[in-house]
């Protein structure tokens, strides 16, 4: 559309109230998701099976967890590049605590998640106290965390084979016999929590506000610093959780795995309709965004499209999906 619409949008978009707007937009994203899934179901008999269904959900878990956590950061107008390596570091920390130090599950898991929160805290302080742009602050953290993961693990994976019950965190089934991995349940629960924080709490409200107009929010007497620190800490906690989930699935903490995950997570958030300039977005949208990505990956694999073509198609579909959304959103 012409730039004049950019002008116009700033104001017209208002036609709908924030909440309602977001809700609507989720439906639209959902529509894209269903269209894509529908296509694959038609194209391959193997796509629409319960086994593959859980496979897709399972493959969404790690990116999904990271994406949900970072949604708050992005809504507040920030960004977090330290998700990927931060996750690896948390996984390694979990390994050090439970394998090397032999701490019990009940201690090690919370500790590793809290460690993620610590990473987030450092990011938050760098952004607020030192006033370093989020991109740089978290880029630096990305490098530091990646390095520390290697240092703490002597660049070798740490295996959880001897930590009873650890693997079940991801791969076990709550209802024995019913093949539905716990990791998926955990993601859903975590997403619900994040969703409530963002949509129902004062913190969430202020997160939108800061992302939309930081100065005005400050003038209204909101402690913007506190809000920002909080969202980075939350993102950090989710990073920690992701570290637990991935290492529990792989059965080991892989110090070198994680780089690059941050971009996928951010992509999921943006595809889910959260604006990188802040002030708008939702956790549900993010989940849908993450699902769109993994459905595409899975479907293309199943149709055994030559892999070099898969990225090409993935890219085009993302474009189309987002564009379709925008069109419908404008109609709305």
């Amino acid at each position: 559309m012409t730039t004049s619409d950019t002008v116009e949008h700033a104001t017209r978009r208002g036609g709908l109230a924030g909440a309602a707007r977001t809700r609507l937009h989720q439906l639209l994203a959902l529509a894209s998701l269903l269209v894509i899934a529908g296509f694959f179901s038609a194209a391959s008999p193997f796509f629409l099976t319960y086994g593959n269904f859980t496979a897709i959900l399972f493959s969404t878990v790690v990116i999904g967890t990271l994406a949900v956590g970072t949604t708050l950061v992005i809504v507040s107008g920030g960004i977090d590049l330290s998700l990927g390596t931060g996750m690896a570091l948390c996984a390694v920390v979990a390994g050090v605590l439970m394998v090397d130090l032999g701490l019990p599950l009940a201690v090690g898991v919370p500790a590793a998640i809290l460690f993620g929160g610590l990473i987030g805290l450092v990011n938050g302080l760098n952004v607020t106290l030192l006033g370093i742009p989020p991109f740089i602050a978290t880029l630096a953290m990305m490098l530091v965390a990646g390095g520390l993961a290697l240092v703490l693990s002597n660049s070798a994976p740490i295996y959880f084979t001897d930590v009873p019950g650890y693997l079940d965190i991801s791969t076990g089934n709550l209802v024995p016999g019913v093949d539905f991995p716990n990791a998926v349940l955990i993601l859903l629960v975590a997403a619900v929590v994040a969703g409530l924080v963002l949509s129902r709490t004062v913190l969430g409200r202020h997160t939108y506000s800061v992302g939309s107009n930081e100065a005005a929010t400050a003038l209204s007497g909101v402690d913007v610093r506190r809000v920002k620190i909080a969202v980075y800490v939350i993102a950090g906690l989710f990073t920690g959780l992701a570290g637990i989930l991935i290492s529990a699935r792989l059965g080991s903490a892989q110090p070198a795995t994680g780089m690059g995950y941050e971009l996928q997570a951010i992509a999921a958030v943006v595809i889910g309709g959260t604006s990188l300039s802040g002030g708008r977005g939702s956790v549900v949208g993010t989940l849908i965004g993450a699902l769109i990505i993994s459905v595409l990956n899975n479907g293309l694999q199943i149709m055994s499209i030559p892999q070099e073509w898969q990225n090409v198609i993935l890219g085009c579909v993302i474009l189309v999906a987002v564009y379709a959304d925008m069109l419908r959103r404008r109609r709305a």
Binding site: S4, A10, G14, V202, H206, S209, N213, T217, S220, G221
Partner: protein
């Protein structure tokens, strides 16, 4: 002066006593030993030229900035507002000159931002919030939808939200920094009614405005500030507008006669003719003609669609119907760039959101529109020429700035307004549409801008003045287009244009009335005849 004001007050200390306040910004001394005292139950008007330091003082009182030196006494007790929240808890409420609203949040959410009613400590009690927002809006009788996102409101509506926000926590000292700048006559009346209702024996209002008539109506006393210094305080009853103005500027200046006969201008052929312009939202079949060297006023109540008309005209908003002819040639304008190329410029009513490059310097802001057409050869900027031109306009419009290199965000509101105006002067269009051109501009500067617009018209530029200040419209316009609910309900020649006549058309419910054909004798017969030969002569300047 103020000293006597002090001693002359009763034994009780004033509600608010401000003394010896200084505040400096790099390169500027915004306040130098400023003082004022606000008595219980009074409305104190604070007046001064653009850049005098009014807003700065209020930012100190409301805790946004901290003073370098100075003392604030509230009921004799010293207060040091450390932040906006703190000031609010001390009982100081403020309506900032530049909005402090969050566009992506709804009206209700904005009203209670930072003090949301809570549930279980962490959660927003949305039901309570909605209820209290609704109550507040009703109680104040404001035409606001609590669920509308603020970003979608017109400037005027946003101003109402600010007012509601400030009143909502029942401050003892209510500061209003040019609250009426965006309001039309009725709105101002409504606001004043609000203020009277608000003010009781234990409260006080500091009222900043550049509109003397208003001040005379609402204020009890007037404190004058000049160059960050206290000048004088007068009781409204015992002073005259002329005295106040001369105190403001430091010399005697006769305020201009209400409406000098603009008839002497001899409008030429039609430059712009609009027929049946409609938009999805609001506009229905808007038609009018604009003549060379004419000033066409647009009057109407808030939300009447004047801004929308302008935006649709220059292609900022999509149109759903209608035809536009520039210099007799039908044109399709898809965006403001094409409008500018045709010599049609639009100066937005919202200088902060839709006008200024806040973080850029004065020079850049002034030359933005004309850069390509006037200050570049083969796409390369002629920097000296651009700078010289910018310097010229700063002088011509008397923009108060230490240098061309100062970021506009640090200029006072009025001076910012002059900068955006200069931007279009530099582009010298055939048709210039100015939306609320003197919003937040002091009397002196306002007069300058008015003369400037008249000068443009005399040189043959066709000017459209959208204003919510009837006096302004009456002062400038050769003809007045009155709008109501997105339709043109009347086009009055200056002779027939009066407050009453305009208000009558402005409050007309357009449903039954069709749009009256554009009047103004020269219009119809001239258009066909004169447009052709008029065309080249007008085309000259604006061809890129």
């Amino acid at each position: 002066m103020g000293g006597t004001a002090h001693s002359s007050t009763d034994l009780f200390p004033p509600l608010l006593d401000v003394s010896e306040v200084t505040k400096s910004f790099p390169g500027v001394r915004a306040l130098a030993g400023m003082r004022l005292d606000l008595r219980h139950g009074e409305v104190l008007a604070l007046v001064g030229e653009n850049g005098a330091g009014k807003s700065t003082l209020m930012r100190l009182l409301s805790g946004v900035d901290q003073p370098d030196t100075g003392r604030f006494l509230l009921d004799g007790r010293e207060i040091r507002p450390s932040g906006p929240g703190h000031a609010r808890s001390l009982g100081i409420g403020i309506i900032h000159q530049e909005f402090a609203l969050v566009p992506d949040l709804t009206v209700a959410q904005n009203l209670f931002l930072g003090r949301e009613p809570r549930r279980w400590r962490w959660f927003v009690d949305r039901r309570a919030l909605d209820r209290r927002a609704a109550e507040l809006v009703d109680e104040l009788g404001l035409p606001l939808d609590p669920d509308a996102p603020v970003g979608a409101l017109s400037v005027a509506h946003q101003q109402l939200v600010e007012i509601a926000k400030a009143l909502s926590h029942r401050p003892r000292v209510l500061i209003m920094d040019e609250p009426t700048a965006a309001l039309d006559a009725d709105e101002v009346e409504a606001l004043h009614a609000l203020i009277r209702r608000f003010s009781g024996p234990n409260t006080g209002v500091i009222y900043i405005s550049h509109r003397m008539d208003e001040i005379r109506r609402i204020a009890d006393r007037i404190t004058v500030i000049r160059d960050g210094r206290y000048v004088a305080t007068r009781a409204v009853s015992t002073t005259s507008t002329d005295e106040v103005v001369s105190l403001m500027v430091g010399r005697a200046v006769p305020t201009s006669p209400a409406a000098p006969p603009a008839r002497r201008r001899r409008p030429g052929p039609v430059v712009l003719s609009v027929r049946g312009l409609s938009t999805r939202e609001l506009l229905r079949d808007v038609s009018f003609d604009l003549h060379r060297g004419e000033i066409l006023g647009f009057a109407g109540l808030m939300g009447a669609g004047r801004t929308e008309t302008a935006r649709a005209l220059v292609g900022a908003d999509p149109v759903t119907g209608g035809t536009i002819a520039v210099r007799g040639r039908p044109v399709r304008i898809r965006n403001p760039a094409e409008a500018a190329a045709l010599g049609v410029g639009y100066l937005s009513e919202d200088r902060k959101r839709l006008g200024l490059l806040l973080d850029h310097d004065v020079g850049t802001n002034i030359t933005l529109s004309a850069l390509a057409s006037h200050f570049a050869t083969a796409g390369v900027v002629r920097r000296r020429a651009a700078r010289a031109a910018a310097q010229r306009y700063v002088r011509a419009l008397g923009v108060r700035t230490p240098s061309l290199d100062r970021p506009v965000q640090h200029l006072s509101g009025g001076n910012q307004q002059k900068v955006v105006l200069a931007r279009w002067l530099a582009r010298d269009c055939d048709v210039l549409i100015v939306d609320e051109p003197t919003r937040g501009v002091d009397v002196g500067a306002k007069e300058e801008i008015h003369q400037l617009l008249e000068g443009l018209a005399d040189e043959g530029t066709a000017v459209i003045v959208i204003s919510s200040e009837l006096s302004e419209v009456l002062r400038l316009a050769d003809r007045v287009v009155v709008m109501s609910e997105g339709r043109v309900t009347g086009v009055l020649p200056a002779a027939e244009a009066s407050q009453e006549a305009i208000m009558r058309y402005a409050t007309l419910r357009p449903e039954n009335t069709g749009t009256p054909p554009p009047e103004g004798p020269p219009a119809n017969q001239h258009r066909a005849a004169t447009a052709p030969q008029a065309e080249p002569e007008h085309g000259r300047r604006s061809r890129p």
